[in-house]
Subunit: 160 residues, 4 copies
């Protein structure tokens, strides 16, 4: 993996603050575990409401984690005033998401000026043992000088 | 699009029953709108807890819908005793998911013996107007004689 | 599909000229069949040297066509002085590429300022009958004011 | 990466023989460099006829290599009488393919009973220095007891 240096020394706090603003992460109960330059780890404890019809974590939940660790891996390298958009991703589900929690790890493959490419692996943790559950490959677009948080005093389109 | 005929005449009820068993669909508030042979439509009304930091629907939510309409489009063509697994999918996010609801439509491209390929489009609905938000392409695997519901009297691994 | 209008009225000639400059298209014997705003069609007659071990068109050949029709569909909408880069694509091979020729059709799904998304379908033509062989979904990046042809008087890196 | 053991001790010879039968590999001048259980490396020396309009290796060529190393990585783990099909793949082009040759390395991520997942990286080699050019993620399907070579005495459909 490439050696990656953050443009914003305060990157870890910035990732954590953005994660806090993602209401959907709270809704599913995800926890930000670790952020290093170009890498990110998120954990998701088991909850029945995250499951599909066989009692496994829903594929959409697995994909959401893969997307988010790819995104925050990229965001950790962005400038202090930038934000990051998901352009697209592909995810392979290798085994059912199960156990006491899912663990997703994302890693930047290439941080470019206009696009950043990240990879992710998601693991099922069953009695402390990790089993590979999914692999993902994602394209992201840094948006320069577009703050990651909504402007103060405005409402989002949906909230109107 | 190919003309597709269901192997189980009771396919619509079977899809609806499976959808009901997906706890995660309830957790996000998704609604099954329509099922025809080889196609499926799901709607998701706006809720603040489904959003990311800018107040848009989270990319993981958009992807979850894309995955699910691809899956149920495939499931509508399966045998009465079969179930369906997501092998992998790719999704392109074309515009922010926003508005009063998302609308996802899935369509089988090819229903094979061992693999089924589906496509999806997800739309943002703003004041009744649809805008294309995402496009997806997915590979699914029908599992013959593997019931879509957990066996009665057993618990899933997670529920133990 | 969206109605798409070309920024360069001379788009068809520009696509044809670019296609002519792609040595690899000549090497495999591909023919540009049609270009309309936001769409492109390429044909590839059967040749034994394009095959894999079972006598079918090689998957790489099928993918090359899918990539190229996506790219030229996007290029047809670009400005007169722009060029187009493939960012990434996904292709599903649905059936073996076979018959007297392959026919690939690409279509722009969304032409954005920074990224364009295209779709492709590749068909096997057996005794005049088309069978769907592959489906692809691709992300491209328009490069403003970056000519599609190498500058006169310079050599490419490889030719040095 | 997982420890992978071949089911056929003669896997390396079998991969080499299959590679030899791929006419398209000869047509582009690709060379099988190395095969180990679950991994494969292919090199492709520069030739002008493999290029696009800017003198770089064509994206279809890069993708073909990525597809083939994923496939042969999977094939190295197959039974002596099996063959392997590409179901789908996604490839991200990270930088122009250039230099004296391309080098593609594939690795099995999971070898399943019905599906195998492989990853690939393709490098540009410029004056002996490798630069990452592309990353791919691929789904393959082992076909049990389907020989990798055409049956003796028959002609392929195309050869008729």
């Amino acid at each position: 993996m490439p050696v990656l240096s953050p443009r914003d020394p305060d990157f870890a706090r910035r990732v954590a603050a953005s994660f806090e603003r993602q209401a959907f992460m709270r809704h599913i109960g995800a926890e930000l575990v670790a952020v290093t330059p170009g890498a990110c780890e998120i954990a998701l404890p088991y909850r029945p409401e995250l499951c599909q019809q066989h009692g496994f974590f829903h594929g959409g939940v697995v994909s959401t984690l893969a997307d988010n660790v790819c995104g925050y891996a990229a965001f950790s390298l962005a400038g202090a005033e930038d934000s990051i958009l998901t352009v697209e991703f592909k995810v392979n589900i290798l085994s059912p998401g199960q156990g006491e929690r899912l663990l997703a790890r994302g890693q930047v493959v290439k941080a470019g000026r206009t696009l950043t490419i990240s990879e992710a692996r998601v693991y099922s943790v069953v009695e402390g043992q990790e089993t590979l559950c999914a692999v993902a490959l994602e394209t992201l677009m840094p948006l320069a000088d577009r703050a990651d948080e909504p402007a103060t005093g405005t409402k989002s389109a949906q909230a109107a």
